[in-house]
């Protein structure tokens, strides 16, 4: 069901050079959290070069259920900023960036990890950085360096920020493309899979006219095990029929599973009218300002 992508974030192999495109920060954090979670679970070392400050990056991962503290303490997870690694004084040099990656690979081996996962947020390249034209050289170099190594690199591109020509150029150096499975996306509404914690994410306004896409997203999320999160923190309107559909899906689940509804007060009020706050198997989490 993924649109314009070969693979889901949860399908990545031990080696490979994947190009992830995302549409909004929430999606980036979600997909990265899944990448980190699965890497840690396999005993790999995980490095995330984030465009946010390291504290923000780790907080976003922790918010999505990653045991950040213990992984950081064990040296299994590191979060870095671009500056000092990929960039030096806001200047990009493909050779130096490759040296950084090779040193990360060597460090991972030295520390005894069976493999390494590196996620790199490429948003730095949207700013006036000297040497940005060497980005394709870097991506080509990464592809060569990974050959035969138990290392996977996930390059993260903001699909709204990068122009289509740049995206097409760099994506050619990757072995596969990854994006959130998207069930509907237009100016008013976006319905996509959420990976960490697993569930679906709704943004914008939803009514009965997109009930079919909502039903498909719910059905696919429910096929997984465990609790399901319906992330509606960026949803500003839901009508009675869609709210009912979500609650009916919750009613149909095994008693051991919970549907967690994350939403703003306005959306929570609609679910409240339908009795969601007293319903077994439903947990209503109201988010106030972030």
């Amino acid at each position: 069901m993924a649109v314009g992508a070969d693979a889901q974030i949860t399908d990545l192999r031990a080696d490979g050079h994947a190009c992830l495109t995302f549409g909004e920060p929430d999606e980036l954090f979600d997909l990265t959290a899944a990448f980190v979670r699965d890497g840690l679970a396999c005993g790999l070392k995980v490095v995330w070069v984030s465009d946010s400050a390291p504290q923000r990056a780790t907080a976003e991962l922790a918010r999505r259920g990653i045991a950040v503290e213990s992984a950081l303490a064990a040296g299994q997870l590191t979060t870095e900023e671009c500056e000092g690694g990929l960039l030096s004084g806001q200047e990009f040099d493909a050779g130096r960036a490759m040296n950084w990656l090779i040193s990360q690979m060597a460090a991972g081996r030295r520390e005894g990890f069976p493999g390494l996962r590196v996620a790199v947020d490429m948003s730095w390249a949207l700013r006036p950085v000297t040497g940005v034209e060497q980005l394709p050289d870097f991506e080509e170099g990464v592809a060569a360096a990974l050959s035969g190594a138990a290392v996977s690199v996930l390059c993260q591109y903001d699909r709204e920020g990068f122009d289509p020509v740049t995206l097409a150029t760099v994506s050619a150096f990757h072995t596969l493309s990854v994006a959130a499975a998207t069930y509907h996306a237009d100016a008013v509404l976006r319905i996509c899979r959420q990976y960490a914690p697993p569930g679906i994410r709704l943004a914008g306004e939803i009514d009965y006219q997109h009930a079919e896409q909502l039903a498909l997203a719910l059905t696919e999320a429910i096929r997984l095990d465990g609790d399901i999160t319906v992330n509606m923190t960026a949803l500003t309107f839901i009508d009675g029929s869609c709210a009912r559909m979500i609650l009916n899906a919750a009613r149909g689940l095994d008693a051991s599973r919970t549907v967690v509804l994350h939403c703003r007060p306005g959306i929570a009020a609609t679910f409240g009218l339908l009795g969601a706050d007293h319903m077994a198997g439903v947990s209503l989490v109201v988010m106030h300002d972030r």
Binding site: D207, Y208, Q209, F237, S241, R244, L273, L274
Partner: protein, 152 residues
């Protein structure tokens, strides 16, 4: 209207026009323009002095009535919104007679197709509005809701 009646929502009654109200919005809609309808109602509800929560309820109520008109009525309709000193009143009409040569419009049975069982559109509307009514007549189905500015 007494204070007591004002405080207690009484579904099905209390949607009569107040003196001094003025037509603030008159908008045709169909399935493709419900988004625009909601945006217009939100703007007018807020402008008329309803609180954030009540404006949200008004938007939900109008949406449910309009969606009923689209799905179970003529497929399109018209919303009129009046702002008065103490309330906002809305009327949703579904355009009535569809394909009926005699122009008889909705039969009395039409209302039954507006789902009123718990959890469905009209049920929700009655839960949140200070007054709600649905009538079918020769010119179609007319649903009205009133939201008072002060509500205890």
């Amino acid at each position: 209207m007494t204070d007591d009646a004002r405080r207690r929502p009484r579904p099905g009654v209390g949607v009569a026009a107040d003196h001094g109200e003025s037509l603030a919005l008159d908008q045709a809609f169909d399935g493709d323009s419900l988004y625009a309808l909601r945006a217009a109602v939100a703007a007018h509800g807020s402008q008329a002095g309803l609180s954030e929560g009540r404006t949200r309820d008004l938007v939900l109520a109008v949406h449910e009535l309009a969606a009923n008109a689209v799905r179970h009525g003529a497929g399109q309709g018209r919303l009129r919104l009046w702002a008065a000193r103490d309330a906002v009143r809305c009327e949703v009409t579904d355009g009535g007679a569809t394909g009926k040569a005699d122009g008889a419009g909705a039969e009395p049975g039409e209302v039954a197709r507006w789902r009123a069982e718990p959890g469905h559109g009209l049920w929700l509307v009655r839960r949140i509005a200070d007054g709600a009514s649905v009538k079918s007549g020769p010119s179609g189905t007319v649903a009205a809701v009133i939201f008072r500015r002060v509500r205890s």
